[in-house]
Amino acid sequence: MDLNQWIFIGLFFALGWTLPALPIVLGKLLAPRRPNPTKLQAYECGVEMVGSAWTQFRAQYYIFALVFVIFDVELVFLFPWALAYNQLGLFALFEMAVFIFLLVVALVYTWRKGALRWA
């Protein structure tokens, strides 16, 4: 493998930041700064904020992330499989079908349980 290719990606990670950071710094220099207490309050349609925003939310959101994680891990296997597919037999397709079927079973269970419903 050619490490040189990755130097470019590494540089992109290291230097790419400067591209959006530049206008922000420029904005800092150019923009006026006249804060006052009202301006610094949270923007909630003119109503004063009660408590911190870092409060509890519903576990609903967690379920979608959870189902996503399980399906996302699947791609650890799906990508090499798809890549090698032209050199694999029909049996490989069958194996992958079984693999996906088991995940679909879990998805259907979640669905039937009503966990995917936005209540």
Binding site: R58, P80, L102
Partner: protein, 187 residues
């Protein structure tokens, strides 16, 4: 170790990995700890690239940073009292720290050639090689073949699917809404 581009990159990535890891276990604000965890995982992905396993590096970012770390951060946001805990370590933390450091020193004494240099025999393992054979160009394709090969990893591959199914069903069972008597007052 002479100073080549590779060794410099290695040092930077190791620093990111270990520094991120240290911040994860010492930061009080768990949301920040989650972000540091992502940083550390990104460093590990970089190490994978250096080790000529770009596929695993990609998966590391997609699965670990893009899914597992996000799941952890979501959990942090869903259990908010965590950001204002009085003490972040338990009472035995000094002992535990000593234990972890001791463990680290022991490991390093085995894997690094430092003790060999000091003249201690038969202690360090021989891990000093630095010019391994080249990785075949089609290693990802080979990985795909091996994973579904009945003589190689077919069984673990299918078992992994069962594990994922079980994990998903179990986790959904735990957090699914609408179970009587399970709500602690957030609904």
């Amino acid at each position: 170790m002479e100073l080549t581009v590779e060794s410099v990159v290695f040092l930077i990535l190791s620093a990111i990995t270990l520094g991120g890891g240290l911040l994860v276990v010492t930061t009080r604000n768990l949301f920040h700890a989650g972000l540091y965890l992502m940083l550390s995982l990104l460093g590990v992905a970089g190490l994978f690239v250096l080790l000529a396993a770009p596929f695993l590096a990609g998966v590391q970012v997609v699965v670990y940073i893009g899914a597992i770390a996000i799941l952890i951060i979501l959990a942090v946001m869903l259990t908010p009292s965590v950001t204002q805990m009085p003490a972040i370590f338990n009472r035995n933390w000094a002992l535990n720290l000593a234990l972890a450091v001791l463990f680290f020193v022991l490991l390093v004494s085995v894997i690094s050639p430092a003790l060999d240099d000091l003249g201690v025999d038969n202690w360090s393992a021989n891990f000093t090689e630095d010019s391994p054979a080249a990785v075949p160009a089609d290693s990802i394709v080979q990985l795909g073949k091996d994973l579904v090969d009945p003589d190689q990893y077919m069984l673990p591959f299918e078992v992994a699917s069962v594990l994922l199914m079980a994990a998903m069903i179990g986790a959904v069972l735990l957090v699914a809404p609408g179970k009587a008597g399970d709500e602690g007052g957030d609904e």
